[in-house]
Each structure stands twice: as C-alpha cells, then as structure tokens.
C-alpha cells in the first residue's frame, strides 16, 4: 500500500523549475532515500506534506499525518530535554510516553539537561524523538547524519531502527550517497532534467565467496559498472554515466556532478563498455557517445567535446581519434 504516490509532479517558481518530473511511490514501511540538493529538499517536503501547491502532475495522499524535519531545524535551547518533549507532547496531543522511550533514543542520561548543553549528536536524536511523539505515519528527514560523530551516527541509526519498528515510514534525503546508503535500502537520485532515477543498490554479502566462474555467466549485453562506497556496492547502468575519468590511475565514474571510483581499470572499462557506445577519446577519458552535444576545434590540432547537461563538461579529443569518432557517431 502506498502512503504517497506522486506522478510527474513538477513545481515551477518564477519561471524556473524547482522540482521537475517527480514520480515516486512511498510504500508503507519502505526505506527510501533520495539524493538531492539541499535547496530543493524543503520544496519536496512541503509538496509531500501538502503545504506547497504543485504546478503540474498529481499527488495522492493516503494519510495526512506527515511530519518533516530539516537539517537546520532549531530546538529551544533554554529548555531541558524533558520539558522540550513535553511541550510537543502537548502540541501534538500525543499519548506517546516520554520517559518510557528515552532509552530508545539514548537520551536517558540527559533527560534533565538543558538542550544548549547537548552535543550535536544528542540534539539530532531529540529532534527525531520530537517527530516520533507526533505519531505520524510518515516522517521526512533531511541529512540527519551530516556532521555527526561515528558514535552519534551509530546511536541515531539505532533510534531510526526503533522508529521504523513501531510502524512509521521514514524517507531520508541527503546530498551524499554515503549517508543514504546507511539510512535506506531504496535509493533515488534526482536529476534536474529527467527527474528521479532509481539507483540499484545491492548489500554486500557478509560472507564473501570468491567464485570466478560466475563471471563467465555474465551476459555481455547486461553489463553494469560497480562502484564501491562504504560497505555497499552500487551498480550503474552504462547509459547513466556521462564519462569516465582516470585520476591518479583510478577510474572515476562521472554522473551529474558526482564522481564514483570504480574497481576496474580504464582498459577493462573500455573493453566492457565499447559495445554500449563508449569511446576512449583520450588516454584518461572514456566518453559516453550519447552524452556528446558539441564538437569544437579551438586550433588545428586539438578538438574539444562538450557534453550535455548543466555543467557543459569539456573533454579533450586527440586529433588521431577524431576520424574514428566521426565514423562512430556517423557525422
């Protein structure tokens, strides 16, 4: 059952797109993470909660009990933790017991401490507790792990686990893939031209079995580029990739503004991706031919490829490769 389903939701503001083409189903108990810039998170949350009207598309809400928290939300610093939570208990008219749950949020020892004396880690958990008190069906939270210590992250994740167990669905957004990997199972990336794209994430098996034979069963036409981040491996479809750049002999997959280091070398990648329309335009660049938008010659001996997208990334093209490239793209 979907709590929220959004279909091609678009929000325009003063002629610019704030959000474009958002199609997303938030199922009950799903663990969704969305990678998107902080500037539009507030808009997305407002749209989901229904306090910001949308420009086009449609959105259906199964429930109105939605609460959201942004990264820079403030707390009443002069209040003690208990007093602060009691205030919101009263506002939400909630019957969630504060003293019974303090332990789950690892706040038992600071119950009577003033909020201004808490660490950033603890404040984040107080915020989470506040949202938990609202007994909402859906929580939307922005970058909760940013600037936390390792212990803080661990305790926050424990609290998130508890909140999810009590039947509340949480959607996280962040600009950092690493953060989303820790918080969610289903990860989407927001692209300002195409909207939301799902990223395939596979959890690393705990017992690593190295079986070389599996490689042979891999069909050539179904290749995905694996990048390892934290303890998870992300797979990218070749058509998502803008280009691959070799930096300090590590091949970095470039998608949008982000680099993801790959485990394979440039030569291996070239071999595997050739059949997907990639071309080695330079010793340290492998470009996705579909992303090329312009070819410019600044001097007789050098050419520059300009890629699609807002950054208009420029890649060098050696003269020797020029002819092959022309043939490949049929120009």
């Amino acid at each position: 059952m979907s709590i929220i389903s959004m279909d091609k939701v678009t929000k325009q503001n003063n002629g610019n797109y704030d959000l474009k083409n958002i199609t997303l189903n938030i199922d009950a108990n799903s663990k969704i993470g969305i990678k998107l810039p902080p500037t539009i998170t507030k808009t997305l949350f407002g749209i989901i909660k229904g306090i910001i009207p949308i420009s086009s598309g449609s959105i259906t809400r199964e429930t109105n009990s939605i609460v959201y928290g942004l990264n820079d939300d403030g707390l009443y610093e002069s209040y003690s933790v208990k007093k602060y939570l009691k205030l919101f208990q009263k506002i939400f008219n909630s019957d969630v017991s504060i003293s019974d749950n303090l332990q789950e949020f690892s706040l038992e020892d600071v119950e009577n401490t003033k909020i201004k004396e808490l660490s950033k880690d603890q404040k984040r958990r107080v915020s989470l507790f506040r949202m938990f008190i609202s007994s909402s069906k859906l929580m939307l939270i922005e970058s909760p792990l940013t600037n936390l210590t390792d212990e803080g992250i661990e305790l926050y994740l424990k609290a998130v686990e508890f909140v999810r167990k009590s039947g509340i669905t949480i959607l996280f957004t962040s600009y950092y893939m690493e953060e989303l990997l820790l918080l969610s199972d289903e990860i989407y990336r927001y692209n300002e031209h195409t909207g939301l794209e799902k990223t395939d994430v596979v959890n690393e098996p705990s017992a690593v079995s190295t079986d070389d034979k599996t490689d042979k069963f891999q069909p050539q036409k179904n290749f995905k580029v694996a990048c390892k981040l934290a303890d998870k491996t992300i797979f990218f479809n070749p058509d998502e990739i803008d280009f691959i750049e070799s930096i300090n002999s590590v091949s970095n997959i470039r998608i949008g503004d982000e680099y993801y280091p790959s485990l394979l070398t440039m030569n291996e990648l070239e071999q595997k991706l050739e059949s997907f329309g990639f071309y080695r335009c330079h010793r340290s660049y492998l470009v996705n031919l579909q992303r090329i938008s312009e070819l410019i010659s600044y001097s007789r001996n050098s050419y520059t490829l300009i890629l699609k997208g807002p950054t208009k990334e420029k890649l060098p093209l050696s003269r020797a490769k020029m002819e092959t490239l022309r043939k490949l793209i049929g120009a």
Binding site: I91, F92, N93
Partner: protein, 240 residues
Amino acid sequence: MNLSIRKISAILQLKLQSIITNVSIMVAPLLAIGFVLIMKISMPKAVMTGAFLLSFGVLFNSIMGGIMMGSYPLAEEKEKNTLRVLMTSSVNGAEFIIGSIIPSILMIILVNIILVPIAGVAMSKINWPIYLIYTTLSGFISIMIGYIVGIYSKNQMQAGNISMPILLIFTMTPMFQMINKTIANIASFAYSGTIINFINNMLTKSYSANFKDIAVLTIWTVLSILIFIYAYTKHGLDSE
C-alpha cells in the same frame, strides 16, 4: 482555520518563558519601573510630578515593551529556525499569534498597574477603567507594530534595527510636544500622544472620555491590525 485551546496554551507557556528569560525584552518593563523609581527619588518634587512620572513609565512599558515583545521573540524564532518546527508540527499562524500576544499583554497590564504606586500617584486618583483600557490598547497596538516588524526581519539584530526608530518616535512623543504647538497638535494624533494627554488631564484636571481620543485609539488599533493582516497574508510569519 481551526483554533485549538490546547496548542494555544502550549504556545502561551512557551512564550511566557521566552519573554521572561529574554534580557533584551525585559529591559523595557524593568527600565520603566527603574527609571520612574530613580527619578522620583533623585529629582526635586516640583519637576517630577506624579503625572510626568506615570506617563513616562507607561510610555516606556506599553510602547517600547510592546514593540519589543512583538518583534524580538518572533525574530528569534525565525533566526533559530524553531518557528518552522512549530509550523510543521500542526501549529497554525493564528494559534501562534494568539498564544504569543496573551503573555505580552498580561505583562504590560501588570507593569502598568505596578507603575501607579511607584510613581507616587494615589490609587484613588486613577480612573481605573479608562486607564486600563487606554494603556492596554496602546500596548496592543505596539505589539501589532512589533509583529509587523518581526514579519519583515530575519533575525533579532534586524528586528532591533527596524524597531528602534519607530520606538524612539513614539516614546519621545512628550519631548516633541514641548517643541511647539503644531508638533504638539500632530503628536496628539499619535496613540502615544493620547495616552500622555489622558494621564496629564486625569491627574491635573479631570478627564472624561472624549470622541477624539477614542477615535484616535480605535483608528490606530484597526490600522495596526489591518497592516499586520496584510503583512501576514503576504509573507506569512516566516518570510524566507
């Protein structure tokens, strides 16, 4: 718009505490009491009449205090991003405003009453119903002005900068009135001017409610509410 008594009372408690613990707001009522006390003790009786002391104290408390109690807490909530948390926690603008006005008004009324004995005015000489209505109304107008300032400012510093000139104009009204007749005439149309005239007349001659004073106060009240509603509907409390 639904109003929930429960939420209003939660905001009320929150605001009461934030006003009492905010030194830069409490400075107004405390200064009002303190100045009146010091001037009464240190200055000769002939200059510092009860009427002068009381009107001075009331101006300080109702106008300076009112504007500060309206603008500072709202600006502080915006500055620290706590207002947004309340607004996304099912508290609506009206509940927030009502919950914040009540403690401010109560504080102004309380100090206005305390000022009477401190200024050395006999309790029996005060026309209590009119005194309370006039001073409370002027406090209310000031709070509204404070909210308008609060809506247009992003932080406490800015709220202070914007409210300072407004605050000076109204608190200095008695000094302007001394300059010449024309300015005194103009000043009598300010709500602060009405309060001063009322207190002076009440304590030196006799005062009966007249049309001009009531009209001036009513127009100021209505006008401040209208401008506030305009600013609120246009920008919301949080004009980011």
